[in-house]
Symmetry: C2
Subunit: 254 residues, 2 copies
Amino acid sequence: MSSNHPAFSRASSILSDQARCVDILVAKGRFGPRHYRAGETIVVQGDDETRAFIVRDGWGCVGRTLRNGERQIIEFPVAGDVLDLSTAVAGRQEEFSALTEMTVWEGLSSRLRTLAESETAVAFFIAQANRRRRQTLVERLADVAQRDAAVRIAHFLLELGVRLSLNGISTRGGYQCPLTQQDLAAALGLTPIHANRMLREARTLGLYEFRRGQVEFLDYAATAEFADFDMDFLAAAEASPLSIRDAAARAAVP
Amino acid sequence: MSSNHPAFSRASSILSDQARCVDILVAKGRFGPRHYRAGETIVVQGDDETRAFIVRDGWGCVGRTLRNGERQIIEFPVAGDVLDLSTAVAGRQEEFSALTEMTVWEGLSSRLRTLAESETAVAFFIAQANRRRRQTLVERLADVAQRDAAVRIAHFLLELGVRLSLNGISTRGGYQCPLTQQDLAAALGLTPIHANRMLREARTLGLYEFRRGQVEFLDYAATAEFADFDMDFLAAAEASPLSIRDAAARAAVP
DNA sequence: CGGGCGGTTGAGAAGATTCAAAGATGGTGG
DNA sequence: CCACCATCTTTGAATCTTCTCAACCGCCCG
């Protein structure tokens, strides 16, 4: 498996789109940068929410606590992700917090939507972000519903790697990852204990290592094989001209 | 528990919104009605897709088959739901088929998006539909990740009831439901065998009965209790003026 | 009437959870 | 600088849930 698969060579096409979009939001939509400290709650579950956010850097966490007290993590927004919680019914049902130090561009979601109608760059960027967001959510559902714990975790970490690589902050060697084993477990519907055991198994098998703060792929190809990972994850979310190149690259590799 | 909870008395606010939206799409967007037979595939996984659909009646099924051959059902579109698979990365990753006889309004998703920019009724209807869609997906994730099989199935059937009640085709007594036990299992990440056992348990407990073609709640309140079901599911997706009434009704009931 | 599909049941095996406890690690205040 | 605390991680053993495999039933449709 070559190490320059499109998923790892296309870095930061997102970042330039984001820059263009943010310029417009700042200039015409009164968006502004804002910093949150690690652990800080940004949107409280149950509140009506009118803000929208674009992540500049850091890791967020969108979760939901069920009536029985269990907590389900829904997504981990990272750089390039757009969150419009008012659009997502989320204000009332979901909670948004900062996992690490985090800076976002923040503004009224009504303005975001208005600008999306007049500025194609904004509409395009948001649409792309929503596509990625939905695909990630669907992938999570498939993870939890169909794959056993060991595969599930490996798959999830590979997905994260691809998402981060879109921003150029991940390689096949690994990436910085602030998640704890408990976050991992809460996102994947496992007990922390079991997650821990599966991580040990992965280490033993020489697939990857997960430490607080760092994911390191010891053998990326073997991990992808083990997790039955589709290297085209999120590929279709990219601009279509690339999908031709993708197809060519894909045909050439095996 | 009163039988006229807002979720069951607000029927067909969706249908009138839909009618308004469809009028515009037909008049200005070249959308037209189209009929599909039960079992017919509408969008094939892997295809690029440029159409968008609004369900008039019947049940659809959006699924995805993983590389290992497992099949995950993602959602069951019913009347009032909007599917723009091109927006959802879905064309390439997801498959859309008709579960029952089904009629939809169909057209180019590019036109849908264009009209959404100029016609607020269209934008509003699509936004509402997407909200419901995301909440349903999040709920499914929580189902599969956090709730055990028996609760998961009960919760799912209650959700479905609320979604259908928005169209006035469900009551607290039950509703028509064309799903097989296998569909249920594929949507909820269970084996059909286990789903079957849990359905028997529900019957034994006097909660509800699930037969091919029909869901019947023997004791709606007890089922909701058993499933730890939040009666406000999808409530926030409705026009906000109602949420005041909702809160009042909620406060009055217990 | 025979085949296919959906539903039903049992028994054994695998996967994941619970409870209980102890070893790291990092930050804080004395 | 060290003791201490909180949080994260690791391990073991018993238990429970869910899956797998292997049947069998019943019904509808050709």
